[in-house]
Subunit: 197 residues, 2 copies
């Protein structure tokens, strides 16, 4: 009857996140999660069909949280070039902060990303859609000139892989990094901006 002791997917996800943070992806087991919740591990399998699905659900939650500020930025208004630059820089900063603050969860994400799992693909597609939104706003404003918004959004995403894909995370702390980001941003903005000489 007590709400707090009902075993819900939400509570399981919470506990899983704790366990992952405490033990890391490699060591965390479903048994640990069950122990943290003080139930048998069989009960966990009532709510998630496999360890993989549980891990994916945690990753999804985590990614959705990380994505929220970017959704807001894409939905805001104002001049598209500034908005695109801000959006990309924010994306980089969020990732960079995660890798420092929450390294265990980041390792989980990295393992997911390297396995090219469904959850991450969906997340990437969502990011590309947000970029596409800004690009089409820019076209409407007459400041961008782009043949194919969707393809160009994908190209912008691909071009910035170095600063948002976790495989490159160790490079983000290097001192020359900010200058390289500046140069990349300038190149990409020139690539989408309408010509007016």
């Amino acid at each position: 009857m007590n709400e707090a002791v009902v075993l819900t997917p939400e509570r399981i996800l919470e506990a899983t996140e704790d366990v992952l943070r405490r033990f890391g992806l490699a060591k965390a087991t479903v048994v640990d999660v069950a122990r943290a919740l003080d139930v048998s591990h069989g009960s966990v399998y009532r709510h998630f069909p496999s360890k993989a699905s549980l891990r994916d659900a945690v990753a999804k939650r985590w990614l959705d949280r990380a994505n929220e500020p970017l959704c807001k930025l894409a939905a805001s208004d104002g001049p598209a070039p500034e908005r695109l630059e801000k959006w990309l820089r924010t994306a980089f900063t969020i990732k960079q902060k995660k890798v420092c603050d929450d390294p265990e969860m980041f390792a989980t994400y990295l393992a997911l990303a390297q396995g090219a799992r469904e959850v991450v693909e969906a997340y990437k597609d969502k990011q590309v859609d947000l970029i596409a939104k800004i690009l089409s706003d820019g076209v409407a404003q007459g400041v961008f000139e782009v043949d194919n918004v969707k393809a160009t959004a994908r190209a912008v995403f691909d071009a910035t892989v170095r600063y948002h894909h976790p495989a490159h995370a160790e490079e983000w702390a290097k001192p020359e990094c900010p200058a390289r980001i500046d140069a990349l941003m300038a190149l990409l903005l020139r690539g989408v901006r309408a010509c007016k000489p």
Copy 2:
């Protein structure tokens, strides 16, 4: 007296490449290399101070061979935009071919690249210089317009990371890949091209 039986760095590198191809990076040992050359492993250490240095020397040879066609392309003449596009596409194709033809050596390169070792850094810098050469040719031809050639060359290199960094190799075979490369190339070329409306 017989040239063939003198133990030279060159012969050791040859044998090491064979051993790596046969056993893979994980399994290959200095003892294997020595056995292939029919000498004691102590002799190998006369020519290379450590296993790491031997591995790096093999990687350097391999990278230098892969880089040769790109050097030629950068040194050739003709319109810079076509040359830049050709250069980048060739770089992608070389990598892609390597990953199919010579997977063991590719795994070695991947291990090196992930360890961000000196040899690979030097190779990347060389690549950036080649891009810079084409860019400055384009500026001289009046077809490119770029503030800082060196920084922009680095940006072009960074923007194409997805198609030349081995961490992304598994994505190269996907069917949507060529279209995404096309979109990226278009974006980057627009980014460096001089405006003429």
